[in-house]
Symmetry: C3
Subunit: 119 residues, 3 copies
C-alpha cells in the first residue's frame, strides 16, 4: 500500500532516479511495517517548471511524499520518513553554488474506502 | 469539485487513457453525490520512472486518487472508490507474466479554505 | 515548507507558467505566515490527458494544491488560498468558447514526521 512520489527540480541534472528508487524501496522494505515488499510503489517525477522563493538565487529541491493507510504511530511515520531521507541525502546531487532543499512528508490515506487488489 | 488523478506505470503500454477517463467520469456522474457533472475533473498520468518492491519481478500498477471536499460519509466514499475501481478493473491491461496492482484512494479536501469559481 | 502544485489542462495553450510561478511566490511571500521566502517551492504541471464531466463541451481547468504543515488557522488557510486565486484569476487564459474552472485547495502535512533540511 505505501505510495511514494519523489519530486525533484530539473536543475538537479544528474539526479539518479533509478538508483534512488532502488535504494529507497530497499530501505522501506526493511521496516517491520512493510508486510509485503511488492506493496511499495515508488516513482520519481522530474519537475521542469518550478520557482523557489522570490529571490534570484540558484536553488533546487527534492521532495518525497509517502502515502500510508491511516493508523500508523507517530514513531513509525518518523522512522519511515527518515529511511527515505537517508537515501535522498546520500544520492541527491549538490551542484556548485546551488542551495538544495530536501523534504519528506507522510500523508495518511483513508483506510475504510481504500481499494486494493491484484489483477 | 472532485479531482481524480490516475497514475499508471508506463509498462502498461496499452493503457487506454481516453477510454478510462470517459468511463470513469460517466460512472462518477451517475452518483447522486455529484450535483454538476462539469465538476468532475479527471486526469491520467503515465509514470515513466517507477519501482515496485525490491524483487526483480515483472510488475505494474494503476493507482487512482479521488479528492473530495470533506464531509462525505464513509459509505459515500466507499461507493465512489468502487465506481472508479470497476472501470479500472475492466480496462487495465494485463500483460502476460506481469503482476498488476490496482488501488483507489479517497482524500478529503479542506472545505473552509477551498476556492472554486468559473472564469 | 509550503509546497504548491498548479495543474492546468493542456488546452489552456498560453498558460503563462513562468509568470504565474513568479507572481504566486511573490504573493505568498508577502504573507506573515511565510517566515523564509526560500521555503516556498512551487511548480506547474501541464496535464495532457484529462476529461471534465461527461458532456461534449469545451472545458479547461486550473487547480492549485498548497501543502502546509498542520496547525494554521482557518483564516490563514483562507488567506493563502485567496492569494493564489488572485494570481490565477489574473493570468489564466480564457480561450473563446471555453468554460474554464479555477480551484485552490489547502492540504495539511503531518508536522511530527516532516523532514526538512538544506544540503
Amino acid at each position: 500500500m505505501p505510495h511514494l512520489v519523489i519530486d525533484f527540480s530539473a536543475n538537479l541534472t544528474d539526479f539518479p532516479e533509478a538508483q534512488i528508487l532502488k535504494d529507497v524501496n530497499a530501505a522501506l522494505c526493511k521496516s517491520p511495517e512493510i508486510k509485503d515488499e511488492a506493496d511499495v510503489k515508488s516513482r520519481t517525477n522530474r519537475i521542469a517548471h518550478f520557482e523557489i522563493g522570490n529571490q534570484p538565487a540558484n536553488r533546487g529541491f527534492v521532495h518525497a511524499q509517502l502515502r500510508l493507510l491511516a493508523g500508523r504511530s507517530p514513531e513509525t511515520k518518523k522512522d519511515l520518513a527518515e529511511r527515505i531521507a537517508v537515501v535522498l541525502r546520500k544520492h541527491t546531487p549538490h551542484p556548485a553554488g546551488m542551495l538544495v532543499q530536501l523534504s519528506v512528508e507522510i500523508l495518511d490515506m483513508d483506510r475504510a474506502s481504500y481499494v486494493k487488489e491484484r489483477l
